[in-house]
C-alpha cells in the first residue's frame, strides 16, 4: 500500500525517465529522497535508540506520536524528537559495472538506474549519519571508497563517472570486498546477476557470513523481462561479444520462462539465507527500491 501511495504522491520525482534529465546526482538524490519521504505518512527517521539527537519541526507525514508535547506546551509549536537511532552504521553499496549493465532498451540503462539508486540510498543513509562507502566491480574491483561520513561527495563523483565496459563476475570481486569490509554493516548489492543461482548465493553468502546485513537489488531492463523483439537477428552478448542467430517469436516463451525460473531460484535461495532480494525493472520508479530498503532497515533495527 505504501508503494502505491508513494507512486501517486512522488511519482514525478521518481520516474527514471525524469531523473535522467538531472545531471547532478546529489540534487537527484535529494529530490528523490525528500520527495519519497514526504509521501510517507510515517517518517523514516523513526529511530529506536534512546539517545536524543535534536528537535525538528513537524512535517506532514511525521508520526504524531513523536511530537514533543512538552515543547509544544512551552512554545506552542510542533516539534518532534530525533534520536540517533541508526547512526554510525557502515553502509556500503556494491555496484556492478560490468558490460551487461550498460544495456538499456529505453532512455535509462541498467547502470544509470543503478547509479540513481546508489545515489539515493547513499544520500539517505548519509543523512542518517551512517558511514557510506562504495565499491564498483565487474570481474574485479574497479573502484573502492571505504565507508565514511565524509565520503558522500567522493561517492557521488565516482558514480557520476562510472561506466560499464568489461565482463563481469561475482565470485572474485565479492571475495575481495569481504576482506575489505572488516566491520559489520549494511551492504547493498546492485547487479543484473547473470550467474547461476548457486554461484550468486555462494558469492553473497560470504558477506552474510561476516555478519553484514545484505540487501540485493536485481536490476533488469524491461526488454530482458519481456523479450519484445520481432525480427530475426543476431543477438550479441555485451560481455563476450558472442553472436547467435535468434528468431524472437520462436524463443520468446522459452526465454521468459527461463528468466522467471532464474529470478525465482535466486530469490528463493537468498531468502533461505535471510538475504533480502528486490527485483527492479528499470522502467519503473525508484520508490519500490527505496521502500524495500526502508523496510529492511526497520527490520534490522528491530532485530538489533
Amino acid at each position: 500500500m505504501g508503494v502505491a501511495r508513494a507512486s501517486h504522491s512522488g511519482a514525478r520525482f521518481l520516474d527514471p525517465a525524469v531523473l535522467a534529465r538531472i545531471s547532478n546526482l546529489e540534487l537527484l538524490a535529494r529530490t528523490v529522497v525528500d520527495g519519497f519521504l514526504n509521501g510517507l505518512h510515517r517518517s523514516p527517521y523513526l529511530g529506536f535508540s534512546l539517545e536524543f539527537a535534536e528537535h525538528r519541526q513537524y512535517m506532514p507525514g511525521d508520526d504524531i506520536r513523536r511530537i514533543d508535547w512538552k515543547l509544544f506546551g512551552r512554545s506552542d509549536r510542533h516539534y518532534i524528537k530525533l534520536f540517533e537511532a541508526d547512526t554510525n552504521a557502515n553502509f556500503s553499496v556494491l555496484l556492478d559495472v560490468s558490460a551487461s549493465m550498460s544495456y538499456g532498451s529505453h532512455e535509462v540503462s541498467k547502470l544509470d538506474y543503478a547509479r540513481y539508486l546508489t545515489a539515493c540510498l547513499t544520500f539517505f543513509s548519509n543523512r542518517q549519519r551512517d558511514r557510506v562507502g562504495l565499491v564498483t566491480f565487474d570481474h574485479d574491483i574497479v573502484e573502492y571508497v571505504p565507508p565514511s561520513m565524509k565520503h558522500m561527495d567522493t561517492i557521488l563523483h565516482l558514480l557520476h563517472r562510472a561506466s560499464a565496459g568489461r565482463a563481469g563476475s561475482l565470485r572474485e570481486p565479492l571475495v575481495k570486498i569481504t576482506e575489505l569490509l572488516g566491520r559489520k554493516g549494511i551492504v547493498v548489492i546492485i547487479s543484473d546477476f547473470y550467474e547461476h543461482p548457486d554461484e550468486i548465493l555462494s558469492s553473497i553468502s560470504l558477506l552474510r557470513g561476516r555478519g553484514h546485513d545484505v540487501i540485493v537489488f536485481h536490476v533488469l531492463d524491461p526488454a530482458e523481462l519481456s523479450f519484445p523483439f520481432e525480427d530475426s537477428s543476431s543477438f550479441e552478448d555485451l560481455e563476450t561479444r558472442e553472436q547467435i542467430p535468434v528468431i524472437p517469436n520462436r524463443l520468446r516463451d522459452d526465454y521468459k520462462r527461463l528468466v522467471s525460473e532464474h529470478v525465482e531460484s535466486v530469490e528463493h535461495r537468498l531468502a533461505e539465507n535471510r538475504i533480502d532480494y528486490v527485483l527492479l525493472d528499470t522502467s519503473k520508479p525508484l520508490d519500490l527500491a527505496l521502500f524495500q530498503y526502508l523496510l529492511a532497515r526497520e527490520r534490522w533495527t528491530r532485530k538489533r
Binding site: S100, M101, Y103, S105, H106, K110, D192, Y194, D221, E224, P228, F229, E230, D231, S232, S233, S234, F235, E236, D237, L238, E239, T240, E242, Q243, I244, P245, V246, I247, R250, L251, D254, Y255, L258, V259, H262
Partner: protein, 707 residues
C-alpha cells in the same frame, strides 16, 4: 522438341542462385545485430531449431533466385531444337514409311498375316496431313505405294501382298526409306520396320543412314524356333552304264530344333512323279544324307525334286533340280608317224578313265589323218607330231570355227611357218634341265578355267612333277601364259583364234621329258584341259532366288542346262515366254537386246516360244536361299542404332559440326528467347527492389514501435 543452349557454358551462372540464399542466411544476420546483456538464457534453447527457420521472406528469395536463373539462361542463348523433334509427338504432318518383310521365313506362325494387320493399323492411324509409303522387301526392296495420303490405296496394296521365296536383307529396304524421307518435305519422318528380324538380313555395313530427326519403330514378330527340316543340298552323280547315263541323287537333310529323334520320309520326284521314298532318322539339330537308287536319264531338261514333309517353314522343304543327258566330247589325238613307241599311251589311258564316258577318242597318226576326221570333233590334241602345211590349214579352219587345239611339243614336233599365227608363239629347240632334279612348274594361272579346280588347298599338287626337257617358246603378242617353269620359261600358253582356242604345252604328256604322267594330278589335269578345249561347260542343276538369267545369251542358256535348242524349240529369231512357278507369264520379244529373266520364285521356270508346247521345254530349277532358314534374330535396337547414328567421316566431320552449329545458331536467332528472359529478369528485379524496400520499411516501423 527439346530445349537446347547455344552457349551452355553460361549455365554455370545458375550457381549464382546460391547468392541470394547466402545473403538471406548470412548477411541479413550481420546487418541486424542486437546487443543483449547476456545470451545465458538464449543459449540454453536448441540452436538447430533457430537456424532452420531463418529464411523469412521466401517470396523475396524466390524473386532474386528466379531473376538470377533467368539471367544465366538468357546468356546461355536458349532455343527449342526443332531438328530433334520427337517423332512420337504430334509435331506436324508425318512422312510414314512402312517396311514390310516379305521373306519366306515370315510364313512361320502367320507372322506375315500379323504384319499385314499391323501395317493396316498404321495406315488407319494416319493423320489428315500425313503421307505414307509401303515398301516390301526380301533380298531386295520394292516400293508398292509411294508417299500418299490415300488410305484406301494403301490398304488395297496390302491385299495384294504375300510371302515371297526370297531371303531377308534390311539394307535395300532402309535405303528406300532413306530416299523417301530425304525427298519428303514433311517435318517428321517415321519408319515402321515390320519383320522377324533375322540376323542374316543385316551385315552391319550397309551404308544406310536415315535423315536426322527420323525415327525407326521396329515391330518384331517372333515365334519360338520351329522344328524345321530342310533339304540343304543335292548331289547328282552320273554313271555310264551300257552306253546309257544313270544318275544317283544324294540329298542332304538337316534338322534345326526339335527334341527327340524322329523319322523323316524323303522322296524323289522326276517330272512331277514321285519315284522313290527313303526314310531316315534325324536327331535334334542333326543332319543325314540319303542316297536314292540311280535312275536312267534319257530325256533332256528332266525336272527333279527332293522333298521332305511340309513343316512350318515350307520353302526349304524341297530342292529342285534339272538334269539332262550329258554329251561326250569327241577328241582327235594325233601322234607322230615315225615313233616306235606309243607316245600317247598315258594321254589316251587318262582320257578313257571316266565313269560317265565324257570323252570319245579318235586316235590317228599324222600319216593317216583324214580330212573328215575333223568333222564332229570337238578338239584336236597333237601329241609330239610334225604337221605339214595342209594339215595346219585344215586345223586353222577347224579352230576358227570354234574347235579346240592342244599342241604338245616333244622330240618330233614340227609346225609349218605358214600357220605360225595360229599358235600363241614360236617353238624353239629343246632345252634340258638336268641340273639337280630337273625343273618344276613355278607358276600356274589358277584363275584360268584349266587350273581353277586346283586352286584350293589339297586340290592337286603340280610341284611334284619333274621336268627334264622342254622346248623353248617365244610368245606372240596376243598369247597368254597359263603356266611357267621355275626358271621363268613358258610351260603352257594359250591363244584365242576365231571362235576356238589353241593351247601349247612345251613339254611332253608322256614320261619321256617329265614325270607329270606319273603324278596324281595328271588325270584331272588332262581331263580339264580336254574339256576346256572341247568347250564343255558344266550345266547348273539349279539357280537360287535372286539370280538373273539372260535368255539372249547362248552361253548363259548352256550354263543353265539348255542342251537342245531343237527339242526346246528355241531359236534366236523367235519370241520367248517364261512361265514362273506360280503360273505368271513373262514375254520376251525377239529383238536384239538382252532378255533378262529375274528368278524370284522357288520352283521351275519354263521357257518356250509363245503358243507352242514343246515336248521337252527348257526348264530352269530355282531354289530358295537356305540362309533364310537360320532364324537367329538380331536385336532391333542394335540395327536401329547403326542406322540412326552414323560415324562421321573424319574429313567431313568438321563440316558436319559446322553445319549443325549453323543450324542451331539460326534457330536460336529466329527464336530469340534470351530477349524475353532478360525482360522477365529485369521485371523480377524491379519487383524485388520494390518488395525489399517495402519489407525494410515495415521492419523499421516495427522496430520503432517495439522501442
Amino acid at each position: 522438341m527439346s530445349l537446347a543452349f547455344l552457349v551452355p557454358l553460361f549455365l554455370l551462372g545458375l550457381a549464382g542462385i546460391t547468392v541470394p540464399i547466402l545473403v538471406h542466411l548470412t548477411r541479413r544476420q550481420r546487418r541486424n545485430v542486437v546487443t543483449f546483456p547476456s545470451l545465458m538464457f538464449l543459449e540454453r534453447i536448441p540452436f538447430q531449431e533457430q537456424r532452420r527457420r531463418r529464411i523469412q521472406h521466401w517470396l523475396l528469395l524466390a524473386l532474386r533466385s528466379l531473376a538470377l536463373a533467368l539471367l544465366a539462361l538468357a546468356f546461355a542463348r536458349p532455343f527449342f531444337d526443332r531438328s530433334a523433334l520427337s517423332l512420337g509427338a504430334a509435331a506436324g504432318p508425318r512422312e510414314v514409311v512402312v517396311l514390310l518383310d516379305q521373306s519366306y521365313s515370315m510364313e512361320i506362325g502367320n507372322q506375315f498375316t500379323r504384319a499385314l494387320i499391323e501395317a493396316r493399323e498404321i495406315f488407319d492411324g494416319l493423320g489428315p496431313l500425313d503421307r505414307a509409303s509401303l515398301v516390301v522387301f526380301g533380298q531386295g526392296a520394292r516400293v508398292v505405294t509411294r508417299s500418299t495420303g490415300d488410305r484406301l490405296r494403301l490398304n488395297s496394296a496390302l491385299d495384294t501382298l504375300g510371302v515371297s521365296s526370297s531371303g531377308t536383307r534390311f539394307g535395300p529396304a532402309l535405303k528406300v526409306a532413306q530416299t523417301v524421307l530425304e525427298e519428303s518435305e514433311l517435318p517428321t519422318g517415321e519408319v515402321y520396320l515390320l519383320s522377324d528380324f533375322q540376323r542374316i538380313g543385316w551385315t552391319g555395313n550397309e551404308g544406310v543412314y536415315l535423315p536426322a530427326g527420323a525415327k525407326v519403330i521396329p515391330i518384331k514378330f517372333s515365334e519360338d524356333p520351329p522344328d524345321n527340316i530342310q533339304v540343304t543340298d543335292v548331289d547328282l552323280i552320273r554313271h555310264a552304264v551300257s552306253g546309257r547315263e544313270r544318275i544317283t541323287p544324294t540329298a542332304r537333310i538337316a534338322r534345326n530344333g526339335g527334341v527327340d529323334a524322329r523319322e523323316v520320309n524323303v522322296s524323289l520326284e522326276l517330272d512331277g512323279q514321285e519315284i522313290q521314298t527313303r526314310t531316315i532318322t534325324l536327331d535334334a539339330d542333326g543332319a543325314a544324307s540319303v542316297t536314292f537308287q540311280p535312275f536312267t536319264l534319257s530325256q533332256p531338261h528332266t525336272r527333279g525334286t527332293i522333298r521332305v514333309p511340309a513343316d512350318e517353314l515350307t520353302a526349304d522343304d524341297v530342292r529342285n533340280f534339272v538334269v539332262s543327258p550329258g554329251t561326250a566330247l569327241s577328241l582327235l589325238v594325233i601322234d607322230g608317224s615315225g615313233g616306235s613307241t606309243d607316245a600317247s599311251l598315258y594321254l589316251r589311258r587318262a582320257l578313257e578313265i571316266s565313269d560317265d564316258g565324257r570323252f570319245r577318242l579318235i586316235h590317228r597318226r599324222t600319216n593317216n589323218v583324214r580330212a573328215e576326221d575333223l568333222d564332229g570333233t570337238d578338239a584336236v590334241i597333237i601329241n609330239d607330231a610334225r604337221i605339214d602345211g595342209g594339215s595346219a590349214e585344215r586345223l586353222r579352219n577347224f579352230v576358227q570355227a570354234g574347235g579346240g587345239l592342244l599342241l604338245v611339243l616333244g622330240e618330233n614336233s614340227g609346225w609349218p611357218a605358214s600357220a605360225q599365227d595360229l599358235l600363241p608363239g614360236t617353238a624353239g629347240e629343246p632345252r634340258d634341265r638336268l641340273q639337280g632334279r630337273g625343273g618344276r612348274l613355278g607358276h600356274l594361272e589358277y584363275g584360268h578355267p584349266v587350273f581353277e579346280p586346283f586352286s584350293g588347298p589339297r586340290s592337286g599338287d603340280f610341284t611334284g612333277a619333274r621336268f627334264f626337257r622342254a622346248r623353248s617358246f617365244v610368245l606372240s603378242d596376243s598369247a597368254i601364259v597359263l603356266a611357267r617353269f621355275d626358271d621363268g620359261s613358258v610351260a603352257f600358253a594359250e591363244k584365242g583364234y576365231g571362235l576356238g582356242t589353241v593351247l601349247v604345252w612345251t613339254s611332253t604328256l608322256d614320261s619321256f621329258w617329265n614325270d607329270l604322267a606319273l603324278q596324281p594330278v595328271y588325270l584331272p589335269f588332262v581331263h580339264r584341259v580336254s574339256e576346256y578345249i572341247g568347250g564343255r561347260t558344266e550345266a547348273l542343276a539349279w539357280f537360287t532366288i535372286g539370280q538373273v538369267l539372260n535368255l539372249a545369251d547362248p552361253g548363259a542358256l548352256e550354263s543353265a542346262g539348255l542342251v537342245s535348242t531343237e527339242s526346246a524349240e528355241l531359236s534366236d529369231s523367235t519370241d520367248l515366254v517364261a512361265l514362273t512357278p506360280s503360273g505368271r507369264s513373262m514375254e520376251f520379244p525377239s529383238d536384239d537386246g538382252p532378255k533378262y529373266l529375274a528368278l524370284d520364285e522357288s520352283g521351275f521356270y519354263t521357257v518356250r516360244p509363245p503358243g507352242s508346247e514343246p515336248e521337252r521345254p527348257f526348264v530352269i530349277a530355282v531354289n530358295v536361299e537356305l540362309e533364310e532358314s537360320n532364324l537367329t534374330t538380331i536385336d532391333p535396337e542394335e540395327l536401329i542404332a547403326q542406322v540412326m547414328s552414323p560415324t562421321p567421316d573424319p574429313e567431313t566431320a568438321s563440316g558436319l559440326v559446322q553445319t549443325t552449329e549453323l543450324q542451331m545458331e539460326d534457330q536460336e536467332r529466329r527464336q530469340a528467347l534470351w530477349r524475353w528472359m532478360l525482360i522477365t529478369a529485369f521485371g523480377l528485379l524491379a519487383a524485388e527492389t520494390f518488395m525489399s524496400n517495402w519489407v525494410s520499411r515495415r521492419a523499421v516501423g516495427a522496430t520503432l514501435t517495439a522501442t
